[in-house]
Symmetry: C2
Subunit: 153 residues, 2 copies
DNA sequence: TTCTCTGCAAAACGTTTGCAGGGCG
DNA sequence: CGCCCTGCAAACGTTTTGCAGAGAA
């Protein structure tokens, strides 16, 4: 945890940005809730618990900054809010998401499933891939089981 | 073109919706600019050229309706606007996008590249896939060539 | 000092909604 | 009549911005 903060601090310094207390508090929230795909508002409320004087605009500016530095990925599941996802440490590939249309849960896939697909895109379309976004919408394991149970009961 | 309008008309009727003049004008714009990934505002301005009395809200309501009927796909490239993409006639699989980070152009991939990946997700995660969104961000062929030219000149 | 960063409030943006009226069965 | 649909304007929720001040180098 601490060394990840250190690492981000260095990334900021490398571009002459500072890790201010507000920025650090924001980063800590993202680290603590790494699995949660928080919206800016979510982050704001959590940061406010530790540092009540922080402003929403600062959170937005921090998330924007972290996004530019590729410390976080800004993702969008189509519900009108941007969500912010810490990049896995040292991960070269981006992670994908399984969004359940029943319960709204979001699962992460860390495996890189797109190696072959990227090669096809580069070879057949001459498109140089820098980043990708892949989201599956469907029914998660739990909801499938729940559906079966309610049928048999 | 006309038979595609007919088809959509039938889809609407099947759910007891009407193809009003405003809806038809909207659909025509989508058909004419099929390659263009228009935002609601874009559609509105284009429809207004033919039917100046139309309101923006009607365009939104129509796009929403067409989206529910799966006539169009609502997509989001992360720039804060929803875009609307006519579904290819008879296409069972959804299409993917190549977004150029240099010039902003959007290319479509109609091939279904994700068959194998979906199987992995279903088998390994027990997740029942209903839909997917795949977007690559990178540099398109033209921009790569332009970059090479400006280096050699 | 100079420069970055912050908090607040206001503004901007895309989108949705309430409502009164229109059109058609 | 009843019902669906429309246009307008207002409202909404998210995100951005202007600005004056705080704080560090």
């Amino acid at each position: 945890m601490e060394h990840r903060i250190e690492r981000i601090k260095k990334q900021l310094h490398a571009q002459s940005y500072k890790l201010t207390p507000q920025r650090e508090a924001t980063v800590r929230v993202l680290l603590e809730r790494e699995e949660d795909h928080l919206s800016a508002e979510d982050v704001y409320l959590l940061v406010k618990e530790k540092a009540p004087e922080i402003g929403l605009a600062t959170v937005y500016r921090t998330l924007e900054l972290l996004s530019e530095l590729k410390v976080v990925d800004k993702i969008n599941f189509g519900d009108g809010v941007s969500r912010y996802d810490l990049r896995k440490e040292g991960a070269e590939h981006f992670h994908h998401h399984l969004v359940c249309i029943e319960c709204g849960s979001v699962e992460e896939i860390v495996d890189d499933l797109l190696g072959d697909v990227e090669k096809i895109v580069e070879n057949d379309w001459g498109f140089q891939v820098k980043d990708h976004r892949l989201t599956f919408h469907g029914v998660c394991k739990q909801c499938q089981e729940t559906a079966v149970q309610s049928k048999t009961s």
